[in-house]
Amino acid sequence: MAQSPITRAAQATPEPLARRIRGLSDRAIAWIFIAPSIFLLLAVNIFPLIWTIRLSFTDYRVNRPNRDIEWVGLQNYRRILTDSDIWQTMQATAHFLIWTIVLQVLIGFALAWLINSKFRSSNFWTTIIVLPMMLSPAVVGNFWTFLYQPQIGLFNHAIAFVTGADPASFSMIGDVALAPWAIVIADTWMWTPFVMLICLAGLRSIPESIYEAAECDRASKWRQFWTLTVPMVLPFLMLAVLFRGIENFKMFDLVVQLTGGGPGNTTELTSINLKREAFEKWRTGYASAYAVILFVTVFGLASIYVKALNRVKDR
């Protein structure tokens, strides 16, 4: 009879080692297995986090290795929280976050609804729709820069075709009023398919029998949508919002490529601003405090949200 791999491995273990292992408890063996992961987690995540928190109370600058490091207490935090420029970047981030999520949820859900109706060639269209999210954000940023180009950009010409305006009369990424919308549009184009896929998974998880029962109860399509579809897809939608919210709070590459944070600082999101402080101005202590504030904000908001999500799931 053929021996199992486990038996073969046990037989191949040298006797002294086998004797030592035989004496270990299940808990000890479990620790041996998870220890490498815990070590990596501590080294890569927890240690840098603690180090960052420590640096946030100092005036350390990485580009001044010869200078003494001074303990400044809460000064960095005070400066950040009273800096009007930083509040402006927070506003820009909030605008970006809210509008991308609203648009992506609405359009993503609508697309999922359409695809779920299983019309002819729906699989083909699903593939086409998900293409944007397979691209690199830097590539997307780059080609939207061309699309927004006033003289030759397809976007400007499309708007001109609809409105009759001169395509060169407006610049999506050069105008203070339009630039925040330019980044919202590009991000929505890229990430709506992601929301659509999650919604589609939600829609397909609803058993057909529930709709059939509703039909028997003579519930209208409208009523079926609001009382069956929406509540059952809601946990999926909330999950999509969570993912997109966290991702867009950290948004960097797409916006840097599109507007570089400009014009002025209209589209300078917190992540771009933080990078400037840390790696262009080299204010390491200050940037560490900034990073801690952002971490606490995202962590706090995400925790509240996850609790709400769990409550919805339990209903």
């Binding site: 001044r64 420029d85 050069g174 944070g261 400009g262 014009p263 600082n265 262009e280 101005k281 080299w282």
Partner: protein
Amino acid sequence: MNINRMYCAAAALACVGATSAHADELTLCWAAWDPANALVELSKEFEAQSGHKMRFEFVPWPNFADRMLNELNSGGQLCDLMIGDSQWIGGSAENGHYVKLNDFFDKEGISMDDFIPATVTGYSEWPKNTPNYWALPAFGDVVGWTYRKDWFERPDLQAEFQTKHGRALDVPKTLEELKDIAQFFQGRDIDGTTVYGAAIYTERGSEGITMGVTNALYNFGFEYENPDKPYDLEGFVNSEGAVAGLEFYKALYDCCTPPGSSNWYMGEDIDAYKSGQVALQMNFAFIWPGVEADPKVGGGKSGYFPNPAGPGGHFAQLGGQGISVVSYSSKQDAALAYIKWFAQPEIQARWTAMGGASALRSVVEDPGFASSHPYAQAFLDSMAIVKDFWAEPSYAELLLAMQARVHNYVIAGSGTAKEALDGLVKDWVEIFEDEGKL
């Protein structure tokens, strides 16, 4: 016989061993642009002469400072030789990133008097105007202007301009004249294409708009500090002249640039010019050989001139870099050998001929230099009027503060010029206070 063969083999191995003991692989770090390609070609001669092998690490301009300053600040050993931007010299000297070259220059008989004085001050000295050298001037560069000579020479356009402005359509002598010309071309139909006035620097992320706006600010009276009292900024950075200069740059941006040019730097300006979109282009002189060689706008179709004067003076923004030995390099002797080779007059002459820009006086003061290329005279005239940005150790913060203030006003139209410059004084004072200089 066999013993003889063994002796031969041993001797050959000894020779190979001796060569490899002295041959190093040197890495030279610089920006990715045309002159860097010329340097690769030129350096082949050094490889052949010295036996050292050259490797190159070129980074595109928008990321150059980020990437290389990160490398220096982390004490990285990637680069043995660094052709770093002129403004890095203060920080690199004070933080020990560069090797001080005075002893080496003395030993090898390299004299800084042999180089254009402005480039020595700009690229090599820290503290400024003291004989402490951290780099050899490697690439002389300055902001100047390129214009469509073929358009300027059209009789119909000349007549129209003459009627409108009462003077010939020619190289502008002042910034106001330059604006008139840019306005004249803005939105004009030339050969069935709508063209625009001027491509100017407006880039926000790195150093673009600062490198552009200073060409207006200097010439309207802006000064970095009180000449008699270092770091005294009030009334110099935000003087009436400086405010007028900033207003001028905004007016030029508003009236006379292509739509969508809100984040343009060297590359975008070149593209706009070469594609026939603009009549004038602000850019560093390094692009001039490329323009002259371009099939569409080169070969006599373009002309070159220094930044025009303003009511407060006549200056141009210095560009260019010096070559330094990185103190973290383990191959400093080989790196110094490269600098010694590079400093030779015949190599400098060849450097210029291949598309580089030597700052050696014997090259640029050669009687044949001014007429050697259509842009050579403009280069000489421009190098005579240069002024540079701060080269303090805190230059990056100083630069970013200026980028933000100027971009906010010029491109985003936020506030007034006076508010922007008052804000800049506030930012810079705060930075110098943090540095302990105020």
